[in-house]
């Protein structure tokens, strides 16, 4: 599919081909915590779910309830669990590969083959991490109107 840019970078080159609104967290949330919620539709989940954009996290992490759905179609990295350090502490789980789709208000939706960490013990929210996902896309925000722009790397 030929992507038409909706945001341009230096020299008029395409930067973003899709845009979605984002929700920012309340001011009561500690300033060291991620603040931007973006909609993402992982695997076969029938509708998009809000996940926190976290460039400090290496992998995407989803709640156990979503993990249970994703494990049916995502490919596991290994046959045994690995113990990973997260912002909420150490958790046993597995790394998986599967598609995450970013729906749009304008432009073209984007799907990325992401690496996600799924743990039955995970007590927190859904997160979009850096090495496993965000590093594979260009993105920018407009905080004046809470818009998240994204585009392909190549």
């Amino acid at each position: 599919m030929h992507s038409l840019p909706i945001l341009f970078g230096k020299g008029g080159r395409p930067f973003a081909t899709g845009m979605a609104p984002y929700l920012d967290r309340s001011p009561e949330v500690p300033p060291t915590d991620p603040r931007i919620y973006l909609e993402v539709q992982p695997g076969t989940l029938p509708c998009p779910v809000l996940a926190l954009v976290d460039t400090a996290a290496p992998w995407c992490i989803f709640t156990p309830a979503i993990g249970k759905i994703l494990q049916e179609s995502f490919e596991p990295e290994s046959k045994s669990d690995v113990r990973l350090s997260t912002r909420l502490g150490w958790y046993w789980g597995r790394l998986y590969r599967g598609p995450l789709t970013f729906p749009v208000l304008e432009g073209e939706p984007m799907e990325i083959d992401a690496t996600v960490f799924l743990s039955a013990e995970w007590p927190g929210d859904n997160f979009l991490g850096y090495e496993g996902l965000l590093q594979r896309m260009r993105f920018a925000i407009d905080p004046r109107v809470n818009r998240f722009y994204f585009g392909h790397l190549e």
Binding site: M1, S3, T17, G18, A20, P21, L23, S26, Y37, E39, Q41, L45, P46, C47, P48, V49, L50, P58, T63, A65, I66, E75, P76, E77, S78, K79, V82, R83, L84, S85, L95, Y96, R97, T101, F102, P103, V104, L105, E108, P109, M110, E111, I112, D113, A114, T115, G124, D125, N126, E131, G132, L133, Q135, R136, M137, N146, H152, L153
Partner: protein, 136 residues
């Protein structure tokens, strides 16, 4: 700090495995992952994938860790979420540890169980996709 298979293969050559085995690579990758040394884990996975092209576990680990590609896809359009996000800001706190689905300015479903919310959404046959959120 590199160790084990990574140390032995600092001057990497596909013909020079220096006695490293798929199991030793996988063990080193695990150590790197648990230490959040993601770049090292990926480097080890790449090397192992070249050395052991027929080893299923090595190839799977390489596939899962290698950064994925993106592509545009059709569909997946969402409405303007201003009303929904405003509802969430004002009301989500009342639904702690629950899944909520909001469309426009209205709550469509709420439950501690995701399956129940998804069942309600399926029965509702909504024309637009609601936004789903876990109130942590």
């Amino acid at each position: 700090m590199k160790s084990g298979a990574a140390l032995r293969l600092d001057s990497f050559s596909p013909d020079d495995s220096q006695g490293a085995t798929p199991e030793s690579f996988l063990a080193e990758i695990r150590v790197a992952l648990e230490a959040n040394r993601v770049a090292e884990a990926l480097d080890l996975a790449k090397r192992a994938a070249v050395l052991f092209p027929d080893h299923a576990d090595v190839q799977r680990t390489h596939r899962v860790l290698t950064p994925g590609r993106s592509h545009s896809i059709p569909g997946h359009r969402i409405p303007d979420r201003r009303d929904s996000f405003q509802w969430i800001r004002e009301n989500a706190e009342r639904y702690k540890r629950q899944w909520i689905a909001v469309l426009g300015p209205s709550l469509v479903a709420a439950s501690p169980e995701l399956e129940e919310v998804l069942r309600i959404l399926q029965e509702a046959k909504l024309e637009e996709a609601p936004v789903l959120m876990f109130v942590a």
